[in-house]
Symmetry: C2
Subunit: 501 residues, 2 copies
């Protein structure tokens, strides 16, 4: 695997991510360092970068460079955004940077910043139609996406550091400051005529502020999954958080679960900016993206030559990525997938499910064994853990919880779904039982991992017969699969027998 | 990595394990298939292997062979034990086997079986003095171990299938059957004069029966760790389980949590055999080994030339094994280890801990980042999960829970220890807080992963000063470590300041 470091010097934070990857095949985030250097501090008032923030930024960048050198990073891409872009005294920053590092930092335009943010988010969420936005320290970028292409881009100097410095002069914020802050945010998006909520067009947000807001909301509702990527933040939840933040002083804010110390001062301004963006387009909710500009830069490198650098199918890609990183047995998993989907198709009259469930079943087959990388015993439990905590792109949290339960059930037992009640739909319990009962039969038919079973033929009746066609002796698998039909019988309320064809 | 398959045809179960490994360096169990073929069925009464059990065994072995061939196994070692060893009609088994497979199965003597069981268990538990025993379907092997050498070996035809067939004729078992069973078990060990409980000599058991008994006991006490390897099973707990098993019929036994269906009939006989073994040597508890003959055969292959094939230090080996399998950054982890142990040594007047804590701290440093293999974000949580669920050799459960908490705390927060209350000692909470506060300071001093910090000098006083000696600019690490001293201050009840030397 190669290693690339991506550095993004923003107005509030500067971050390094290190990706290990094989081009177009698989990748994994292996390191991240983030420093709140507040490079934009004072820029709003003076138009100039201040000596202390410049110093903090250079120290952080120098540390990133050392880290990359010492951990075998092959290549570094470093970009700077809004704060440097607009400063009158850029040269002072360049002089300091060049004196201490050899980093080749490139200032990207607001347009480019928006583009890479779109690339990161569109890949991470599988978004092909909708809007992405990125609220950073110095500015907010909004992009309209149609059929996977960015069609409109908007950048405005509405950033969390900038707005906090300009509008927040009291603690807790005064009514007057709040009014001015909100008005400024509202005016920032006044010209955005193309931003309109639409059933088929999602709004997706990236950046530290939106992740922080999601975390606060999750803590409040004791959310069962420990991931913000893909989380749905409602307009109502956002209003509640704004309400709390606007009547708390700093000490009180420090007590808010999910709000980190270095975000206590700037999150209110960020929340108001996002609130006004949602108001402008009349959105009732937004999807949180855990990936943004840095990952966008990575995808552009990873998918060289593809324009825009979007994965064909982020869902399929990320499932295979997870499987490949765990050295999965491809022929075995493919066979389990084809057998379980064949059972699914032939049992359609009984379950009535469609393409969505079929797709999930196929994904579960690919990754059912990945937990072996943790430990063989109880690997079905480890597979569930890896699904819930690994990088999956373009899946809703409900889908992730379903996938987790399917791999958990692939060998034996039945996952306890009660912790995820607030994520599941009412009939998901039955859906999971049925799908995993098929996965389990396929898994045991493929017990010898020899792909000896060519096909399965389902005979529907009072009781179900599954006729196995094999290229060789499949007797052990058939015998074993017959011992694992308990879940099937429970889930479909039919008897079942698996026989040699 | 190479792959080896080890097949063990026992009297009750036949099992295949597949290990991926680099000789003497690292290994991982990647596959296991187990079939309850009950090869010994009927041997007790007739002295002959019966056709049906032979058939079941050959079908299973043939399936194992296919699996090995289809999943890229380079080499297969297959052994048979008690049931075949003693049968008059071995040739019938050989004929059937050769007709359907090309497996080169070797019958090992009771002596060899005991030896490989000792090797597996001694490596798995780090046992250098004590006794190992293996209760299988047809026989029980006991080995005395002194300074890592097997000094006495005893094999007796007390096996769970054999004894069940011979002594259990009623359901639930009748008083008379129970008495006969117990007496036979007692007589089996009557000659074992060298088996004597001793404070420095542990009793360690392997095999499916002992694992099953451990699981039943764990379920009863809602044990917080999901691992049986290394579990302490008390004489008292064993008596309670025997009590329950001996008054339950099969249907009732099927409801006992932890008792699998294919073990419902034979576990009572196994429990009585183990009870009598403990009585014979006056042991109050035993340690469960998750590894046995198969793993012993693996170690003999893995450590070729070393006799007996014991790892130098199973604890260190398995910690490094876990780290290597997760592609850890060795230079970084070594530095975090040496810095945290240096802090530990210099702070000895404050904490008063000894070699044991120092060793655990060193292990935690090596594996603190392994969770990155699951996902970078929250990797400290994933590291804890991998510690709790991975293969660690020679650690008690308490040590594993401590290691888990240390890696969990290495970046931020403080692990909730309450779920593990029944495992921890009363002062472990403070122990964990103190050790992990050192780990955290070392981690942040090594934030740039550049090993720039050469040494730390601790100045003890009302408040603590940590003076950092660096080969270069360590300012970012020092600044950052100073931000992470909250846990230290809480755990040591002293103020602390980290300064450049």
């Amino acid at each position: 695997m190669q290693k690339i470091g991506i550095i993004d010097l923003g107005s509030n934070t500067t971050r390094l991510i290190v990706m290990a990857y094989e081009p177009e095949r698989c990748f994994r985030l292996v390191d991240e360092v983030s420093e709140v250097v507040r490079l934009a501090e004072g820029v709003g008032a003076t138009g100039r970068l201040q000596p202390k923030p410049i110093r903090r930024a250079v120290v952080a960048l120098s540390m990133f460079e050392t880290l990359c050198r010492r951990t075998g990073v092959d290549h570094v891409i470093a970009v700077g955004t809004s704060a440097i872009r607009e400063a009158e005294n850029q040269h002072e920053f360049w002089d300091a940077l060049r004196a201490e590092t050899t980093l080749d930092l490139r200032i990207i335009s607001a347009q480019e910043e928006a583009f890479y943010g779109f690339v990161g988010t569109a890949n991470a969420l599988g978004l092909r139609n909708g809007f992405t936005f990125d609220t950073g320290g110095g500015s907010t970028q909004v992009v309209a996406v149609r059929n996977g292409q960015p069609t409109e881009t908007y950048s405005v100097q509405a950033g969390v550091v900038r707005f906090t410095e300009r509008y927040v002069s009291s603690d807790p914020i005064s009514k007057r400051d709040l009014r001015n802050l909100r008005q400024a945010a509202q005016e920032s998006f006044a010209g955005l005529t193309w931003l309109q909520a639409h059933p088929d067009y999602r709004l997706a947000g990236m950046g530290g502020t939106i992740r922080t807001l999601a975390r606060i909301d999750q803590k409040q509702r004791q959310y069962p999954l420990d991931r913000v990527h893909g989380y749905q933040l409602s307009r109502e939840a956002l209003s509640n958080i704004i309400e709390v933040l606007s009547r708390s002083n700093r000490r009180e804010r420090e007590q808010i679960p999910g709000l980190k110390t270095d975000r206590t001062d700037v999150t209110l301004a960020g929340a108001i900016i996002i609130e006004q963006l949602m108001t402008c387009g009349r959105f009732e909710s937004l999807t949180v993206s855990g990936q943004g500009v840095r990952e966008g830069l990575f995808y552009a490198h990873f998918l060289q030559g593809i324009e825009p650098p979007l994965l064909d199918n982020p869902r399929t890609f990320s499932i295979k990525n997870l499987a490949r990183l765990s050295n999965y047995e491809e022929a075995h998993c493919d066979k389990v997938g084809s057998l379980s989907q064949s059972l699914f198709d032939q049992l359609a009259p009984l379950h009535g499910y469609g393409a969505w469930e079929r797709e999930l079943l196929g994904y579960a087959a690919i990754i059912h064994d990945i937990g072996v990388a943790v430990g063989y015993y109880d690997h079905h439990k480890h597979s569930e853990y890896l699904v819930q905590n690994g990088t999956l792109l373009g899946f809703t949290h409900r889908e992730i919880a379903i996938l987790g339960a399917l791999v958990r059930n692939h060998r034996k037992g039945q996952a306890d779904l009660s912790p995820y009640a607030q994520i599941f739909a009412a009939d998901d319990s039955q859906r999971i039982a049925r799908l995993s009962s098929l996965l389990r039969i396929a898994e045991y038919l493929e017990r010898s991992k020899s792909q000896v079973v060519r096909a399965v033929r389902v005979e529907l009746g009072e009781s179900i017969r599954i006729v196995v066609e094999a290229d060789g002796d499949a007797s052990v698998g058939i015998w074993d699969a017959n011992r694992r039909t308990g879940l099937f019988r429970k889930a479909f309320e039919r008897d079942v027998e698996i026989v040699q064809g």
